[in-house]
Symmetry: C2
Subunit: 392 residues, 2 copies
């Protein structure tokens, strides 16, 4: 008798973006010619920097020769890639041997669940990226929501929230677009020290930080190495949503309550449940972190932020409060008194705009919409026109 | 207080191949010029077919243009790839919508653990690929060993084994190289029906099957669709150990004891814990399954089987019983009365040959060595010379 994992029943029927995809497919079936614009899933649309595509292309071609062929890679990822992450992303704050290359942040979020006893509850920003909650539910954890609203500047009130041993924290945040300040992150790190918690810090949107005072990594904060690990991604950094590449940084000081180091178990987990990111993706990552690559990918972030400004204008003109979009590719639009799934359907059917209902990110999101600024300039201009004409 | 997952303590300290890697590294440090030959990890060494490398290279280059760029792919994998797997690998026995593209068999073996209640024990062939056991231990399962020895022709005695709801089964098998016959697999399927078990069938080595009577897929067996899923891989099929690509086939008839379909939960799991295989790898997979690609990858399998024949000769000349190697890239060498880790050290230090101690695959492997035939012809010729000279 094969018994289903009972925790699967705790999940909503579909992953949020699958659910949206199904609703869009239904519309497409009924109205095949509807000129849809997607402001929904955070999917990059701009071509890769030429130096990155060229390097991947050359290395792929070379796989047909004995000299260029590679099989299984090093367990923690290619050495040059870890060296470059250490220097270019972490300015040496994280050593190459504290970095573990992966096929993306979402996959590592799922694998991280394997490290901890199911009795360890997890706190998430409310609203938050659904993978934190969904993977925690499958692992059998209790999930604690830490409200992040306009009233608290989208930073949890650490004096009143329910503590949890594990804390997922994303900054700049998905979906609110809020970038935590140095002071806020310092308080979060102190909180983790005081409560003996571990922060699972998601820096996927760090490339959008423009203000030199805003930290791009939790490891810019004193004391973080004892209480935090960090999950990073090339998806938004370099448009690698399809290429697949990410990493997790685990400082050697980080340990469980029994004193044993997390990194030892993480190494065991990735060698057992994973077999490395594609060599092609890793070569692409190496090209991204060269000086010309870094410049090109920074321009990509600037491009998407200009899209965000385009989308913001008509919404603010309509009198709505719009958050995010300045150091993040997402706008978080407050629509008081309106149910977000109803507004989703309204915009889909009347303006052919696909947005994400805030309720999909947690209870505090139910009167919000998330608009993604990933898109081509012409489509974002058209979307801005439609937003100006729409009644929200 | 962050508590370590207690199941992690059930694992051996290192993943088998990590342990071997560390022992080799120690030797390399002491004797940097030792001319090592690896007959250990099953890592492909031959270049990719030119058509495959060229297609991946072109698509990678095209990612620098708007027309060639892609972001997140379809959740189950690219449609053309699933169509080709359905036709070229499964001759239509499995439909495209029953196929889920992954970044490799090992990763899917880990994710499959999420489907089932931890109370479901798992049976493995003994000896078996360590990932079956290690991922099951982390999931909290009891592991039941089904001895596969020369005495039973490396097929478990189904009349006497301890039943289990989940059965990992690999054919051609790693490490024994035994390819189960149609009759044996028919009995396994009937056993699963009788015990209401599910077979997690690993067909990673199917490309090495040469005998037209030997099944390459569990779905060649009547009744398998109700009791089996199948994990497949491009690693050995096409030398994609570094490129990373695999799949899992889940027939729509396959269900839990409560009658709910496995495929629904699997779809939920891969959208939550995974984000698709690299688009570059998927394009490579499409090229592999074109007629010229299929021909080229079949030649690769033939090449490695010729290596296996080279290695077999000196071992048999020394009077050893050697199994496998005819429809699998592994030789399974019987060394009665000899401890396999001692023999591993002996061959490493005296002949500079890296083999895998059979004990690493399970209790029934303790008097065996696994030799991998993945390697270049010159290195395999040299390895054969050294084996002829070695005292085993």
């Amino acid at each position: 008798m094969v018994v289903r994992n009972p925790h699967l029943a705790r999940l909503p029927g579909s992953y949020l973006f699958s659910e949206i995809g199904q609703r869009v497919a239904t519309l497409r079936k009924a109205r095949p010619d509807a000129p849809l614009i997607r402001l929904s899933i955070g999917d990059t649309t701009e071509p890769l920097p030429p130096s990155v595509a060229a390097h991947m292309g050359e290395r792929a071609q070379a796989m047909a020769s004995q000299a260029g062929y590679v099989g299984y890679g090093p367990e923690r990822g290619m050495e040059p890639l870890r060296q470059l992450l250490s220097s270019a992303v972490y300015q040496g704050r994280i050593a190459p041997d504290e970095l573990f290359v992966s096929d993306g942040a979402k996959c590592d979020i799922g694998r991280l669940q394997l490290l901890f006893d199911p009795s360890c509850s997890v706190a998430v920003q409310d609203p938050a990226y659904p993978a934190y909650v969904d993977t925690s539910l499958v692992a059998g954890r209790k999930v604690v929501y830490w409200p992040c609203t306009p009233e608290n500047g989208f930073f949890p009130d650490l004096d009143t929230v329910e503590p949890a041993p594990l804390i997922f924290f994303c900054s700049p945040a998905n979906p609110t677009g809020a970038a935590a300040t140095r002071d806020q992150l310092q308080r979060l790190v102190e909180y983790a020290h005081a409560h003996r918690s571990i922060i699972l810090y998601d820096s996927a949107y760090a490339p959008f930080v423009r203000d030199s005072q805003t930290p791009r990594s939790i490891f810019e904060i004193d004391g973080a190495r004892q209480v935090a690990l960090e999950i990073g991604s090339f998806s938004k950094l370099a448009g690698f949503t399809g290429v697949r590449l990410g990493w997790t940084a685990i400082p050697r000081e980080l340990s469980f309550a029994d004193g044993s180091p997390l990194a030892t178990d993480w190494s065991r987990i990735i060698t057992t449940f994973f077999n490395g990111a594609s060599c092609l993706s890793q070569w692409g990552g190496v090209a991204c972190l060269q000086p010309d690559g870094l410049q090109a990918i920074d321009q990509l972030a600037t491009y998407y932020l200009s899209n965000a400004a385009l989308l913001r204008a008509p919404l603010e003109a309509a009198g709505l409060s719009v958050y995010g979009g300045r150091q993040a590719p997402y706008l978080w639009v407050h629509t008081p008194g309106r149910d977000s799934w109803e507004l989703f359907a309204h915009l889909l059917h009347t303006a052919h705009l696909v947005v994400v209902p805030g309720a999909g990110f947690g209870p505090s999101g139910r009167n919000f919409l998330r608009l993604s600024a990933f898109g081509t300039r012409p489509s974002m201009e058209e979307a801005a026109h439609r937003l100006a004409a729409a009644t929200i």
